[in-house]
């Protein structure tokens, strides 16, 4: 009922026709302006990934490409020399994939179950428990670096991708629990009560009621975690070594020059490669972000 009533509300359909037209024009004009503002960096990176370096240095970053070449893309992916090997960013790309996927899945799984417990199975001090878990999102990475290094050293996972997965999972659970719990709170308690009266237990209710309702928030968690872990630099650089480094290290390597010129064009192409997986996930999952939080539920 909520959905249909909402759909029939069209704010711009009030008032006279000319007022409506004016209102629509303003809306689209504003959207267009913001869209241009938001897109401009992406367009600039894209444009500069085709231009020869001499031209970029001479003309600046925001000027029409005079000559265009695809080869910087190939260099960025497969042949540019970074950090001891001349394989471009492809190696780092796979490293990051190996690290990000497990951490995302694990932290989302824990988050969904934790959110379920904290929203539907109240017990004493559960708000404090929720608060403790949530506080984890605020801790700056610089502060927790050494303690993590110590812990990983003690359990034998230092300088390994597995250790990195552990760190990201634990830190991610704070976020996913926060999101999932706030989402599940909107699920009516009556549903749970009815199920319990029918004799369903903890896991049954989870499987039959909560899971079917959770795709939107699951996707939000996956998007959030994947993006955060994929783009993270500090832990990736410090808690790995040698051939294990993630792609953010590779991107930073472009800017740390020393002597020699900075290859802005290859860097631009590499940046796009680095941004593709999160962008892809946003493209296919974006609509779940905005789907109504009570979509399809209940009434």
């Amino acid at each position: 009922m909520a959905e249909t009533a909402r759909q029939s509300f069209d704010p711009l359909a009030t008032g006279s026709r000319s007022r409506q037209l004016r209102a629509r024009t303003i809306v689209y004009a504003l959207l267009g302006f913001f869209a241009l503002l938001y897109l401009s960096p992406l367009l600039i990176i894209l444009m500069n990934s085709y231009r020869p370096l001499a031209e970029i240095v001479r003309e600046g970053f925001i000027s029409g490409p005079e000559t265009m070449s695809w080869r910087y893309w190939g260099e960025a992916w497969g042949s540019f020399c970074l950090g001891g090997s001349c394989e471009g960013v492809s190696r780092y790309f796979y490293n990051t994939l190996v690290m990000t996927v497990p951490a995302t899945i694990l932290s989302t799984a824990f988050g969904v179950v934790n959110g379920y417990v904290l929203s539907k199975w109240r017990f004493r001090h559960d708000t404090w428990v929720f608060g403790l878990i949530t506080l984890g999102v605020f801790l700056p990475a610089q502060m927790t670096l050494l303690p993590w290094a110590f812990v990983l050293g003690k359990i034998g996972l230092s300088n390994s991708l597995a250790g990195l997965v552990l760190v990201h999972t634990v830190q991610g659970i704070s976020f996913t629990t926060l999101f999932c719990r706030n989402y599940f709170v909107a699920v009516p308690d009556d549903l749970i009560k009815a199920a319990r009266i029918d004799g369903a237990g903890f896991w049954r209710i989870f499987r039959r009621i909560m899971l079917p309702l959770s795709p939107p928030i699951l996707i939000v968690c996956v998007i959030w975690q994947f993006t955060g872990i994929w783009n993270e630099f500090l832990y990736g650089a410090v808690l790995t070594s040698g051939a294990n480094q993630p792609i953010t290290s590779a991107i930073v390597a472009f800017s740390g020059s020393g002597t020699g010129e900075r290859h802005y064009n290859v860097e631009a192409a590499a940046v796009i490669f680095a941004a593709l997986p999160p962008l892809f996930i946003y493209l296919i999952g974006g609509k779940y972000f905005v789907r109504g939080l009570t979509s399809g539920a209940v009434k």
């Binding site: 290290s249 390597a253 020059s257």
Partner: protein
């Protein structure tokens, strides 16, 4: 040449074989942590790896680019986790500091075998042996106090390269009057301090030693320092408006294409200039930064590799092999030609191997400066006082450059206070 090289190679290999034989089949391996992930330094490190492998070692490297703090963060994290890295790129007072808190490898036998004490520049030996044992191997010597001048502008106005600060100011006045920018600069804490290093050193070498080498706060608040800040303020006036956010390579390009007249920077400029195709003597001239006390000035900076104590005998052997490789004349030539610096061994002949005129001049100046007792180490590049003082000083200096409402008197006082605060 080739046979010379193969003799070197086989002596290295011979050493490796002997080392291997005498330590019960340990296979030398190493994992070197450094900051050079990209560019010509990365190639030079790759060369080091090739040489290491050719001598029988198993090579791995961990390149942490970004800022030095990222590499230092990894170093701390590794040590806290119980995995001190076998080889790390550290320099200056850090070597002594890490020696104090960690266990270092002992390279004395390799050093004695190869006679390092005789060939390494004296000012550097004490840095590599903080407690009397060799714990680090120096890769190069950089000179920080170079003045690069645009030949085009000097020729146009009929000027000579200035040798004292008064001459410099006079030249700049003429150059600014003719409509050119006098000094090319990219503002950042280290580059502002690099310039200031040269100013203080050139104006009063004793002040430099007291304030920047010994960290004497009274020297920092003295009149000499006030005068130095006044000169720095003057120099900011000779720069253009775009110094914030400009990289040092852009400043170098400005000078060498004739947009600006002077550029104060260390000798790594030469490596960049070579890559960009600029020619010394045609596009730019290299001289020491002005000194008021006549004579040869040399502010020294050196990159080095430090070796932390290891349990694994393979790493122990690897460390000795790497140290030996780094000190080998062949590596010194390859690395330093690429980097624009000069070898840390004073017995290498710079007229072969591709060293530029400026680099050869640098070595001659190093020897002259050592003889004249004017050789100092660079504060700007972390060769003298511990980082906590240096960082505090750099903050003051870079704020001074960025904010022209700070007077030289205030700046000198702030400098002294910043250092006092760290105790």
């Amino acid at each position: 040449m080739k046979s010379h090289r193969s003799v070197r190679m086989s002596s290295l290999s011979a050493f490796a074989v002997v080392a291997v034989a005498t330590t019960a089949q340990a296979e030398p391996k190493i994992n070197m942590m450094h900051q050079w992930a990209q560019g010509s330094e990365a190639e030079a490190i790759a060369k080091l790896g090739e040489m290491f492998e050719a001598a029988g070692g198993s090579w791995e490297q961990t390149a942490i680019s970004g800022h030095t703090s990222d590499m230092l963060a990894k170093l701390s994290a590794d040590i806290v986790a119980g995995n001190a890295p076998p080889a790390v790129q550290l320099k200056g007072p850090e070597i002594a500091q890490w020696s104090a808190v960690g266990t270092m490898a002992d390279l004395d036998d390799v050093a004695a075998e190869e006679g390092w004490d005789d060939v390494v520049a004296p000012e550097l030996v004490s840095v590599m042996k903080p407690d009397g044992n060799w714990v680090a191997a120096p890769m190069n010597i950089h000179r920080v106090n170079w003045l690069y001048s645009s030949k085009a502008i000097l020729d146009e106005l009929g000027l000579e390269v200035p040798t004292s600060w008064d001459e410099f100011n006079a030249a700049c006045d003429k150059i600014m009057a003719a409509g050119h920018t006098c000094i090319a600069h990219g503002a950042a804490d280290w580059s502002d301090t690099t310039t200031f290093d040269s100013v203080v050193y050139g104006m009063d070498i004793d002040l430099y030693r007291k304030a920047f080498q010994d960290g004497d706060v009274e020297a920092m608040r003295g009149q000499g320092m006030v005068d130095a800040f006044a000169q720095l303020r003057k120099m900011v006036g000779y720069m253009d408006d775009g110094i914030n956010g400009r990289s040092w390579e852009q400043s170098m390009t400005m000078t060498m294409t004739g947009e600006a007249a002077f550029f104060l920077m260390g000798d790594w400029t030469v490596a960049s200039a070579n890559l960009a195709g600029f020619k010394e003597g045609e596009d730019y001239l290299c001289n020491q930064t002005p000194v008021d006390w006549g004579g040869t000035g040399f502010i020294l900076n050196a990159d080095s590799v430090v070796f932390f104590g290891q349990e694994d005998p393979d790493y122990v052997q690897g460390q000795k092999l790497l140290a030996s490789t780094i000190m080998s004349p062949e590596f010194q030539v390859t690395f330093n030609v690429a980097k624009g610096s000069i070898p840390s061994r004073t017995d290498v002949d710079l007229s072969k191997g591709g060293f530029t005129g400026c680099q050869q001049q640098g070595l001659a100046d190093l020897k002259a400066s050592a003889a004249e007792d004017t050789l100092v180490r660079s504060m700007a590049h972390n060769m003298t006082v511990p980082q906590k003082y240096r960082g505090a000083m750099m903050e003051v200096i870079t704020e001074f450059v960025a904010d022209d409402s700070i007077t030289p008197e205030e700046a000198a006082e702030q400098l002294a206070e910043a250092v006092e605060l760290q105790d």
